[in-house]
Symmetry: none
Subunit: 459 residues, 2 copies
Amino acid sequence: MKTQVDLDIAHIDKYVSDSRKSYEAQLKELVDIPTVSMDPECKKDIEKAAATAAKFLESIGAKAEIIKTKGNPVVVGHLEQGSQYPTVAIYNHLDVQPADAEEWKTKPFEMTIENGTYRGRGTTDDKGPALTVMYAAKYIKEQNIPVNIKFFWEFEEEIGSPHYEQFLKDHKSKLATNSVVISDTIWVSRERPAIQYGLRGLQGLMIKLKTGVKDVHSGLTGGLARNPIGELAQVISECYDARTGEVKIPGFYDDVRPLSDAELANFLKSGFSVDGFKKAHELHSLRTEDIKDAVQRIWARPTFEVHGIVGGYKGPGVKTIVPHDAEVKISMRLVPDQDPDKVLACVTKFIKEKCPDIEIIKEGTLRPFFSDPDNVFNKAAAESMKFAFGKDPAFNREGGSIGAVVSMHDELKVPIIFMGLSLPEHGYHAINENFDWQQASGGMKMFIKYFSLVSAMTK
Amino acid sequence: MKTQVDLDIAHIDKYVSDSRKSYEAQLKELVDIPTVSMDPECKKDIEKAAATAAKFLESIGAKAEIIKTKGNPVVVGHLEQGSQYPTVAIYNHLDVQPADAEEWKTKPFEMTIENGTYRGRGTTDDKGPALTVMYAAKYIKEQNIPVNIKFFWEFEEEIGSPHYEQFLKDHKSKLATNSVVISDTIWVSRERPAIQYGLRGLQGLMIKLKTGVKDVHSGLTGGLARNPIGELAQVISECYDARTGEVKIPGFYDDVRPLSDAELANFLKSGFSVDGFKKAHELHSLRTEDIKDAVQRIWARPTFEVHGIVGGYKGPGVKTIVPHDAEVKISMRLVPDQDPDKVLACVTKFIKEKCPDIEIIKEGTLRPFFSDPDNVFNKAAAESMKFAFGKDPAFNREGGSIGAVVSMHDELKVPIIFMGLSLPEHGYHAINENFDWQQASGGMKMFIKYFSLVSAMTK
């Protein structure tokens, strides 16, 4: 068996370059299957993609198993070099967000390749990174580097991983590992790799108000009839100040972990810029232009967010009805050490006090996550990133939530490290989502290096 | 020539009773033509109905003319007894709301007759009342009662009468009259006739906020990205208290004409009941259960109403995006003596102060209307209602808006009186719209009496 010291950069470069065609073909095969976990009509596509993914894993010499859950399956791969060597598991997910074809430049579920850019739903989130890891693992296998690699490929990440925790409980021995790498995060900019050591959590909810049986005539009833859209809008504005983002619900901020000076300093060195952020997300204006405030808002502060208000008239112009029901879709991003149950209790109490006949429906819950940025795995990850991309990574936190992370931390009881490859301009959850060969090829080198570093660790 | 003192009740009763068969046949002929002004495919039906209406008017001895406008025609009839006599014009409209056949008990454009109930789209709004007036006029002509009667039969009322004002301007001399009767309003209950002496106006607007190019990921951007739905919800709740309905925009209430004690007393005697209102409109709860407050809210107070909020995520569950744009559809019902332009200026100033980058788009405007409930025409109308229906009418105001009314008031410069025949249970704009012989036969007597009273007035 080789060890990491034997890595031959030219050899790796050639391997990566030789892999491009087959990587692109396999990525297209996966992206072209619409694995939208939110859409019940995609059940068959998810089964098909699971079979395809298992076939891919087997093609590199891994054992692959499609493990059923009460929801979508999880594909588990195992590239075994020997039980005496360390084991590292890599988590990716192969389900995707929905996509409205009419808004896209190209068909979201027909991946296109143009100048090394792969466009299609799921290219960057998270099929592209998943296959990148697989190609690194293939090299490890071919070179006999002494490390065992497990693949945890989920199909319910975009709906909050509702069955993943049970899956972990049910298959603990099969999933045993010394650490887990999550490859589903985003760098701050293409200029500098980034490692996240914290995640925001999430608490979703819907609030509904129904005041009648049908929309009524605003001339005949207006003034006397209640207006559920108006009342819900009022409750929202009592919950938070949308201009500043400040949540006004008593108790909401109680358990927020204060940001240390060192963390803030790292955030400011991460390559984040307010202008870059605006450009990446195509935002015209922000709640603040101050960088110190900005980085804390996205990485270390909780939010209250309104995603949509359903009810009433939606067509062109104005139709003078009084709506009879309305529903507001809300979620809160939570930070360490907020507890979703406690936050939900605060919010429920507050809204019920404001308007007792609002119905509150609990939606998905994800706990926030925090790990030590200085542990050995994060150090190895940093070294691998420098090896592949030529720059020390930034250490920041992730503003999003990955439900599976907290579950894996709880169930597998091993360190969890984030080594993402996506970029802000890749359009996570947005139209024209894309990934690119620069990140895929760099990613392959990064993971080859990381696996070799892990192989040298004591088990 | 006879005068009103010669009216013979038995003779009228016989005339009305003898007219039933032909009234019903003609009503069916009109209702069976789908004159949906909102539907461009009904253009030919509208032409056909205009020809039919003109033919009906000619059959009672009136001159009839189909006057073209840039939109649908107006049928003008003239039953002339002598230029030395007073002239009264009756406004009705022969266009109708759309109807979804699947929701109806019977086909909406095939009128059925069952126990004196006429079911079909347009039976009560407003073809039934139009023909009722015509049969009263026929009696006047047959009896040589000295009054000239003009018929203004519009075909664009249901789309806000966009060409009616120009029609009035273009044909002023032809339309000259000493007063106008609108027969297109609804009693508070079958138990008691009602005369409206005021209408609410309307100012529509849309407010829009666009903070980016596309919806973005609430994990990646939440806290820093602005949320246009949240901000617009906040502006709405600054504009008005949706729970009470109170508008908080400075200057909004400035020109609201105080309701006199006599008016309020009339409202309370109108037959209105809070329970009846809830039942009629299928509302679970209201802003108040107090009848004194309730009647003022719908008839004498302005409103701020949100009809819908477009933007963000509308599907099932919660999709954790930050929306990039949103649009709120708003209208305000205005009361005498509010001026829509002045109100719009207040609202615009207020919203721009709260959030300068909200775009404000002006939508339809209708001025409120107020006439003296004690003028001679309203007195004659009240006497006619008592003559026909055995009860003094209620005097109330109409919560809705009729654009043609203000135009006629401005252009023809004569008093405008409301003598409606529709009932809440007739289903204005609703499924299974109907009218009935009780209201039609009573209406014929009412108009015969009214025309005879007008004939006795000095010109």
